[in-house]
Subunit: 188 residues, 4 copies
Amino acid sequence: MTGTDTFHESLQYIQQKTKSILESVPRENIDRVTEAFFTTNRTFVYGAGRSGLVSKAFAIRLVHLGFQTFVIGGTIGAPIKKGDLVWIVTGSGETIPSVMTAEIAKKIGATLVVITGKKQSRITKFADIAIILSVDCLEKEQKQYAPLGTLFEASTWILLDGIIAELMKKKKETEESMRSRHATLELP
Amino acid sequence: MTGTDTFHESLQYIQQKTKSILESVPRENIDRVTEAFFTTNRTFVYGAGRSGLVSKAFAIRLVHLGFQTFVIGGTIGAPIKKGDLVWIVTGSGETIPSVMTAEIAKKIGATLVVITGKKQSRITKFADIAIILSVDCLEKEQKQYAPLGTLFEASTWILLDGIIAELMKKKKETEESMRSRHATLELP
Amino acid sequence: MTGTDTFHESLQYIQQKTKSILESVPRENIDRVTEAFFTTNRTFVYGAGRSGLVSKAFAIRLVHLGFQTFVIGGTIGAPIKKGDLVWIVTGSGETIPSVMTAEIAKKIGATLVVITGKKQSRITKFADIAIILSVDCLEKEQKQYAPLGTLFEASTWILLDGIIAELMKKKKETEESMRSRHATLELP
Amino acid sequence: MTGTDTFHESLQYIQQKTKSILESVPRENIDRVTEAFFTTNRTFVYGAGRSGLVSKAFAIRLVHLGFQTFVIGGTIGAPIKKGDLVWIVTGSGETIPSVMTAEIAKKIGATLVVITGKKQSRITKFADIAIILSVDCLEKEQKQYAPLGTLFEASTWILLDGIIAELMKKKKETEESMRSRHATLELP
């Protein structure tokens, strides 16, 4: 079996499309979602499948920044209350547990941020702030180089890291202060 | 509280550095790790913290491609055996459970692929194939725009998606065949 | 702060009530749910919170017995299909994601086993086989010695271990054959 | 395929042996481990496999009681510090990640509680308080009715629920106050 160029073509495709997707995010959205951390109480994140992994990576950094954070469905939980902040990541905007969680969060009176690839989806109608990550691309290339939710997930991963950098500045945190809150399993 | 440009500067920084990191991966490494899937039995992945989330995202896609895959430490497990393929993701190369897992995998006789940011680390000496993802960058910028393992994790996420595209081609899979193996929670 | 007798009173209460609960399970139910493993394809388990932990403990043993098993919502998943077996554990029978999962499983045509503390609950109407684990007890004692779902969860844990012993016999497995499928992290 | 009596024999065996195991726990141990919650800062729990599930079930209830609690290796973590309380559950007392975690916790200066089935095991030498859950039983019956760690895990599950009842009393909590801290996914 000999190598192909698919690996490099895929890397280039993902990086190029991710860049386009991220450029389309309105600055105003980022201001609103980062400011929400300073006007709400606790933060809850949720996502299913790979979107869930992306949302957990965000939660880990929020903990490093000193925000009280929970993963919905995780072992250590808390009841969502009015005044809390809920982030849900769902590419399709139609994933059943994500939509249900959004509906419940809104009824409780939480502030709901949704990151989705589909502007017209069931979940966006519940969102206080929706960040839409979508891009025009040839379907053939997308299927070959970035199957299923690949572009959405990579874009969301980087978007959330950018939001972390912004929050770090706003909250006057440093890499050192973040490291001090980092769970470790290393011999002292 | 007014917005800053940190968000956009961080996005640009992460994308630019990730690109440099990924360009430095030798083509030969990718050939070897993708071919390993066709000469070994089952695949096991492991990582701690955010590296663990990246490795789980990879595992999900491997399942979509039809490879029998386990997350070490996950609920559904199996004993690693000689002839199996083990992937470990660790930025520092020194994370204790990752190094222990590497040592055990090697003693058992599995093929061990390690993705790490540090060429000279405890884990690399156990690796059959080590993919090193590191880049020169000004420490000040890195701390501000991409604290802790951010660059390593984003690079690994995209690298593994590129490897998935390559495996998809080699195994003659399509987005449709992958979707048919996708866990869903949607009403039929 | 001095010790009280609450610890021992609680142990006795939990063990006594668990015994009563388990004695009320009809033998016929156990025959039906154990035989279902030999007439269906793959097994999926689900539960939220502590019920989810109990269902995962069951899944681990099913893997040891050689049944192909998935935890719904786990990293390594698969789409539920007609002919599969789905187990859902929910004390109240009203937990939203559990009820949704039950509804989806039934629409797909899977065989659905539900373990619940409430015979008249939303989830039981979807069940092919419902195992009801409930007991009359003085509310005051229950609140003090076994708060929230404690009795249901302890009963389910032991019930499922009894089902494992029964399946072990039916499938002619031994502790040794089970150990050979046990994930380990031990130096060889 | 016809039913056997293995199910009922197993239930009886597990309940009888669990009772014997729990009766052998010295009252003094329970006093010491429950008092430790009021003299330490945060609580961390750990276990691998089914022992990990048991320790997570304990963590959920500790959260309900209002103790700040983390699952080691969970998404939401924190660095263990001197003055924290660490609980590790391991049947064999030899599970590598459990022993490593114990060693690290002790070097940091945390108070370490270990629940294990083996008094003479690698982990007990690190423990400040070790609760030993073991029982004499005929090997043949144990293998047939309660394979692998079944007796240890069921005993630990109930032991920890008894400790919760004791803590509930000591901390003057009620089922209602616990429910108010319970994560829910129910429409209000």
